[in-house]
Amino acid sequence: MAVPGLRHHREDARGRGLNDTGIQNIQGNHACAVAAVAAGCRFFAGYPITPSSEIAERISVELPKAGGTFVQMEDEIASMAAVIGASAGGIKAMTATSGPGFSLKQENLGYAAGAEIPCVIVDVMRGGPSTGMPTRPAQGDFMQSRWGTHGDHACIVLAPWSVKEIYEQTVRAFNLSETLRVPVIVLYDEVIGHLVETLDPGSVDTGEITTRKWAGGDPAQYRPYACGEDDIPPMARPGDGYRSHTTGLTHAENGFPSQDPTTVDRVARRVLGKLARHNDLVEQVDCYDLDGAQVLIATCGITARAAKSALRLLQDKGIAAGLFRPVTLWPFPEESYREAARGKQQILVPEMNAGQLIYEIQRLTPPGVPVAGFNRLDGEPITPRQIAERVEELLNHD
């Protein structure tokens, strides 16, 4: 066969890492599973739920080949707990789910945030609430991903918009989680999860694979939550002689429970502040045609791809519109947004929910600049034409 550089391949090629297969058509959920293993993930615990099940299916093939462990747990809660347990044991771990399952994981997600245990959670969004439309896309978990668990907590949410980016952001999720000791959520909708796209490994940029900082030195001196300038405490690996205590209770630097107001405040502020401190690692945005644009469209995921197409439709009609896309959805890239919004006459936030991202945008948009939404709740993706029409409608109202 006269196609150079390609070996045998099937779309669902079981057990081939991306680099082994070269260019391929691959489903978003499969790309996520392959990326996780490439990022060093060696443990996956999950529970079947549409539309994320393909991640578990694919990684149940990939992990054993890398010497890792796949386990299907008895429920979503157990999956999350097992992932934290595995990570506490010192290996990179992940779980994947969708809306209702994500809700069930929230309690333990809070534990991971509080105890600063790295882990990656993938949420493939479907129509909700409740069982909703399991096979239809939505973007209803923007707020749950940030505020789903209880109490003040640090977490990172990454929102890819293509199969290639699912790959990149899954790897990045592990890197950030490990480096910053924080749970990282990869959040995308059903459309992208089930989308098959052509992926060229040569075009994928994942950078260096990083692993958490391990405790070293004299065990007698080790304090599990004491850290240097970087605000990231080194983690003790069981069996290395540090014998530390990990708890979901508020704790002092020695790891043991504390309710001393000064201590609690100090530790809480460090944990909440560490993401801001490492904002250079955390923040990632993707912008198009901002210069000279009258209108700014701010959104992410599949809706952002529709918006990008809409830019062209609008251009054809002589309307200058730009796109602001937070790749790191949370913590929200506030300064970058303010920069992008500067000088715009109209902000549009299209999203496949009744309005979530718009609240964050409204909060950050200078007074006087109108912020409008475009919302679809019917389980159908927002199309480029709908966005373009909405922009025209907003401008005509002026």
């Binding site: 462990t69 157990a78 707990a81 044991g89």
Partner: protein, 277 residues
């Protein structure tokens, strides 16, 4: 911070003595249970560095922190799920789960069933004191009928249940029950359970003197402990024939064991080996 304890069992070698006196109420059976566990660890020669203790929420959940090992105080009901991840990630660690009747049998009941079914090499100690002590004494799945708790003001009308039978039916490799009064026997039972290659479920009959005992006029700790002795029988006595005197049909000792394949061994054999070939 040495990992090599002396030949004779000295419990302080295994305790984080800087945290003492501990938080438990006077006469709480959990302390005795903890002693039996540490004693068993000593006699088995398990290194503290290699030991991971996972506990949930409640009085039982706070006990683990006093052990000088790798200790994890996790979320309510989830220590078994957490321990499953930990053990799968690190089969080299000895993993012990400390849990309570509310933690393990109510909110975490599903995890118990499946931990038993998977038969992962974990030892689970259920510290059963028949009540939610930490939250102030509410009814639990093992509260004796007619007993008063803060949520059964007219006496408990729900039946209690036998966790050991559940564990056995769900496939746990080893199931046993013992009371704290029989400390050496409890120690031996824990030893036997930890030596079993598979999931070991051990119910420890503990007591909650301060809350449950008071609420029900069960006396002080000595009375509560003696009452257990009157209510439970060693399995050696042959419970099924005890027709005349049968205050509670609960036996102590090793109640069941099976030789089902241990989970990590099964995973190696059925999954990893096929993946690499």
């Amino acid at each position: 911070m040495t990992d090599v304890p002396s030949a004779e069992f000295n419990i302080r070698d295994y305790l984080r003595t800087e945290l003492f006196p501990h938080f438990m109420c006077p006469g709480c059976g959990h302390g005795i249970a903890l002693r039996a566990l540490l004693w068993a660890l000593h006699e088995l020669g398990i290194s503290k560095d290699n030991l991971a203790v996972v506990s949930g929420i409640g009085c039982s959940g706070r006990v683990g922190a006093y052990i000088d090992a790798n200790t994890f105080h996790t979320t309510h009901g989830r220590p078994l799920a957490f321990a499953t991840g930990l053990k799968l990630a690190r089969p080299d660690l000895k993993v012990v789960v400390l849990t309570g009747d509310g933690d393990c049998l109510a909110i975490g009941g599903n995890h118990l069933i499946h931990a038993c079914r998977r038969n992962l090499n974990i030892t689970c100690l259920l510290l059963n004191n028949e009540v939610y002590g930490m939250t102030g004494g509410q009814v639990s799945p093992t509260t004796t009928e007619a007993r008063y708790t803060t949520t059964t003001p007219s006496g408990n009308h729900e039946p209690a249940f036998d966790a050991c039978k559940l564990a056995e039916a769900a496939g746990a490799g080893f199931v046993g029950r013992e009371m704290t009064l029989q400390t050496p026997a409890l120690k031996n039972l824990v030893k036997e359970g930890m030596s079993h290659n598979g999931f070991a479920f051990i119910e420890v009959l503990s007591d909650c003197t301060e809350i449950y005992g008071r609420k029900n006029d069960l006396g002080e700790s000595p009375e509560m402990i003696l009452a257990q002795k009157a209510e439970f029988r060693s399995k050696d006595y042959g419970m099924e024939r005890d027709e005349v005197f049968q205050p509670r049909s609960l036996a102590t000792g090793v109640l069941s064991r099976n030789d089902h394949e241990e989970y990590t061994a099964a995973y190696r054999k059925h999954v990893l080996s096929k993946a690499s070939s």
